[in-house]
Amino acid sequence: MRARPRPALPSRRGLLLGGAALSATAALSACTSNESNDSDDSTQPAAQPASDKAGKPVTIGFAGPQADHGWLNAINEQAKNRAKTYSDVTLEITEGSNDTAQQIGQIETLINKKVDVLIILPADGKALTQVGLKAMRAGIPVINLDRVFNSPQAYRTWIGGDNYGMGLNAGHYIGEQLKDVRNAKVVELAGMDNLELTRQRTQGFDDALKNYPNIKKVARQAAEFTVESGQAKMAQLLQAESKFDALWNHDDDQGVGAERAIAQAGRKEFLMVGGAGSRRAMDAIKADNTVLKATVLYPPTMAASAIDLARALGQGKGVGGLAELEIPSSITLYSAVVTKDNVDDYLSTGFR
Amino acid sequence: MVAPEPPTPPPDSPNPPTADASTTAEGPGGPPLLLMDGIVKTFPGVRALDGVDLEVAAGEVHCLLGQNGAGKSTLIKVLAGAHRPDAGTIHWRGEPVTLASPIAAMRLGIATIYQELDLVDGLSVAENVFLGHEFATVGVLHPGRAQAATAELLARLGHPEISPSRPLGELPAAAKQVVSMARALSHDVRLIVMDEPSAVLDHDEVDNLFRIVSDLTADGVSVVYISHRLEEIRRIGDRVTVLKDGRTAARGLPARTTPTRDVVALMTGRSVEYVFPERPEAQAQPAGEPVLRVEGLAREGEFAPVDLDVHPGEIVGLAGLVGSGRTEILETIYGARRPTAGRVLVDGRPLRPGSVQAAVRAGLGLAPEERKTQGLLMLESVTRNVSLSCLNRFSRAGWLDSRREREAARARTRELSLHPDDPDRPVRTLSGGNQQKAVLARWLLRGCRVLLLDEPTRGVDVGARAELYAVIRRLADEGLAVLLVSSEVPEVLGLADRVLVLREGRTVHQGPATELDEHRVLDLVMEGSPS
């Protein structure tokens, strides 16, 4: 086990077992690497804010859930890397936690430290509303990331993905692809069913499919955003439906397992659409050698944008490109469909 | 068995003792088989053994006597290699040895039959017999060979009817004792330690046990025999060692000729064996209404319909052998088993069948046979054990008033002269008799009116028995109704006012205790003459 010093990375990463160090030397196998070795390019596509010259120093507190999943991990990365590009930004980032009480404690610590702006990605939006309100009352503007608080008073600005739109766009893409197929059958591999976002995605998907009377959704199973559950549920779906035309999988992480099940069953008669937009999925779309033909974005770049918004709030400025002086109170991101045609534009945003 | 042999039997040949009987015990000049000298064993807070000496000659039955807590159990665990002594020496056939582990003791040829039946319920009879020294080749078992060898051992013990493949948990206690014995004999033994082997055995079983013991000694095997029953020691013992408070009070007394008075005095400082309290004037049929009435109570396959009355102030005894249904009757009255016919009335009101709660609410209390597992929380204090049945009396809105709880419990335990008078002492550290008193105190505190006693003196030493008898009689005199079950006929006859004799689940006799003697009861129990 060798550990090469990697000064550019936080210490936690430095602890990584040999896998990390070796991957840098064997960087060819980019998709199996544990380590991002091109971390700088992930921040490029977002529009540069109007005021990128150093201004008044801003301390930003960032509290998110435990990064035990590719997408959440990408959120942290995006925030950290974005903050690094500004010399006037100090980022106070907490150790992520999925425990509501613990996250509340972490946020209260940040409030006591009197950070200038808070970015909160709550483990559970409803449960953390109170602490959001507390921060706002203490005069600290809160940027609520993705999982929305109960009350608009608990945040200054909300920025997040569009779960309904994600399902809608996935449905429309599949609908267009299968326009000429008679009695087309569609299968859905959902994420964790006890999360509201999963239901919103399914709702959007179903609503889109209503526009295509030739298409019928014949089966749906919910996995748990894990590779293992993706494999297990997909294997069952493949057994249940001996032939279908399209599959929408909510999450590219569980998609690793789903694609494994598909390969094991030797099936390739359908097209598959992913969700969230992992780098691995985008590489596969670009290579065009599997059933995966598209993925619907749920961009983790929102964390980088949140840093921009926080910085602008802290310096009392607006954002470029809008006529208003103030930053909007809510920003919903667009869930673009990434296909072979446009994948090159998005490749750098793909998370690992 | 004293013939010099390799001390370690090969694991594949755990023969019963089949050494040459021709080479019997060495002459009196040779070293003793076992010599323990100045053995000390301390547990946290307790000095269990404080210099014990024991000398066992080859081919003798050496009896070990002592009250509960005298250190007998600790001593035999040292002998079995289960405890390592803190000081003292052990010589085995003249050679100094350390008994570092159970394996080491077994290799020397020491086997132990424990009182608590250290067998595994989940395994079969044969599996228990050969546990730890299984018939196996590189770990793979030969179940057939173990079964055949077990069947042979059981047959030699006079119990060919016990199937080696039967799960041990299904066997009654007496049969477990036989299995335990077979287990001891499955080793190549020179010394067998028997810890109260007769406690769960009936009359005939005890005879059978004695026959086995004399067969063993004829083969030169020595037996260390522990029992509370002096008459047994007189019958089979050669010499006696008496323990008191972790020390050897007397060693090598002749078993047959030492007067009982002397033995009891050595053990207890008292010179009485069984003293039963005075009965109130014998009443043929007590006046007044019975507090407990049992009408045609029956459980199919266990006991036939039973009728009995118990009046306040009366002690009624149930006499019978193991398997006669006496414990089952008691437990059915108590609601722990659901009857298939009949009913139980308290003060003329029938109890809901099969409900312990109903029985307790009506004023019944049971002191079970298995005190340690069914009656007491062994790790808890005396107070907590006593107050268990009526906690809500000391609580307000769920909060316990521990001072009141302690005082109330103490009042009861003092009434029963529970010793030592320390309500915070863990029940585990009490002697058998005082543990029994803790159980009784619980029911007294509860205000119970009918006491069901199942083998109340099991594991209680001689000196404490008389005291316990007196306590039971006093409770009756104070107006309690007592229903007593015991396998010891003199106990039933001496303590009870009226006696029911049971045989194979049937009542064969019912009448005043004064009209019966031990001989007559044994006849009834075995012949079942019509009553």
Binding site: M1, A26, Q239, G257, Q264 | A155, D204, G323, S355
Partner: protein, 350 residues
């Protein structure tokens, strides 16, 4: 033992000098049918009945899909990973212990075995690493419990937390995809042996070995004894502590094997793997008739328990019913199986 009818004094059967009064009973004759019944045990028959009922439901609702060979293969494959874990768990529970760390150990093993460093060594490296990590965790559990005298519940709970944490640290929350063609191909139809997937063969092998180990070896016998009465086992000369150590090692080994199987199945390693395996394995063992307090356990029952759970999931998926319904059914099956298996008892709870 009937004492009433043995009043006739048994005259001196002198040990060794006379032949025994009754010849030693030969072991009961074992015809093939009775052997099968003995292997299965009565309790397991009720489990088989449950499984048969499930198969009937599946065959009735989705005859074409459910009763196909493909589906049988699928159910067995999906059972294989948790099945191997359950075999190890059965030993631990039978001995009166518990291993709450199995899921975490599986996660850690999959992650460690799929780091880039490990993958350099190819399929053999992955297999070795997965098994070694499993055994290593089992060793720590065993040492803490047997020689550190920790309660199994606490020791393995601590292992659960730390192994999950370490898995997250190593993987950094990322999914580690496997490169090795050898490993990946084990999951494809080309490597089926006589139509049976290698994963199912491993599962079958572990089951058979586990059955033999529990039923036919001193190790298994002593496991039951330690669970049934540890003190009796100690007095019988069994080194109870070392035996406990071996048991947790065995459970760790099963986790390592299961981790490798999971890598084959998902083609990746992830720190979220093995989620709630501990509960699934315990549930399967319990409905299979293993006593949670120790002293009784059967491998056959545990494996039937696993198959029942997987079959439920399969039937529900084939009928396009959602996870909520699946979870309710799982709970109901646990309760029903335990109730059905309980022997009719005359005594009421006191």
């Amino acid at each position: 033992m009937s004492t009433g009818n043995s009043r006739e004094p048994v005259t001196g059967v002198m040990l060794r000098k006379q032949p025994p009064p009754t010849p030693a009973q030969p072991p009961p004759p074992g015809g093939s049918v009775s052997t099968v019944l003995r292997v299965l045990d009565v309790r397991n028959l009720t489990l088989l009945a449950v499984l048969a009922a499930l198969v009937a439901v599946g065959g009735f609702t989705e005859p074409d899909q459910f009763l196909s060979t493909d589906n049988l293969t699928l159910v067995l494959t999906q059972s294989s990973v948790i099945g191997v874990v359950t075999v190890g768990m059965t030993f631990v529970i039978t001995s009166g212990g518990i291993d709450l760390s199995v899921g975490a150990i599986v996660a850690l093993s999959t992650v460690w075995a799929t780091t880039v460093a490990t993958q350099e060594y190819g399929a053999g490296g992955i297999l070795f690493c997965a098994v070694a990590v499993g055994v290593g965790c089992g060793l720590v559990n065993g040492l803490l419990i047997a020689y550190g005298r920790m309660v199994p519940f606490i020791a393995t709970l601590a292992m659960l937390a730390s192994a999950r944490g370490l898995a997250l640290l190593i993987s950094d929350g990322k999914t580690q995809v496997v490169d090795s063609k050898t490993v990946l191909e084990l999951g494809y139809e080309e490597s089926y042996i006589l139509g049976v997937p290698p994963l199912v063969l491993i599962f079958a092998g572990v089951t058979v070995l586990g059955w033999l180990l529990l039923k036919r070896t001193t190790f298994g016998r002593r496991t039951v004894a330690v669970g049934g009465n540890a003190e009796a086992a100690r007095l019988a000369g069994i080194d109870v502590r070392r035996h406990r150590l071996y048991l947790y090692l065995l459970s760790g080994l099963c986790c390592g094997i299961a981790a490798f199987m999971l890598i084959v199945m998902t083609g990746s390693g992830q720190n979220t793997n093995g989620n709630l395996y501990e509960l699934d394995a315990i549930a399967a063992a319990i409905i299979g008739g293993t006593l949670l307090s120790g002293g009784r356990g059967t491998i056959t029952g545990s494996v039937l328990g696993v198959l029942i759970f997987t079959t439920i999931t399969n039937i529900f998926a084939l009928n396009n019913l959602q996870s909520d319904a699946q979870q309710i059914a799982k709970g109901a099956i646990i309760v029903a199986a335990v109730l059905v298996q309980r022997r009719p008892s005359g005594t009421t709870e006191t």
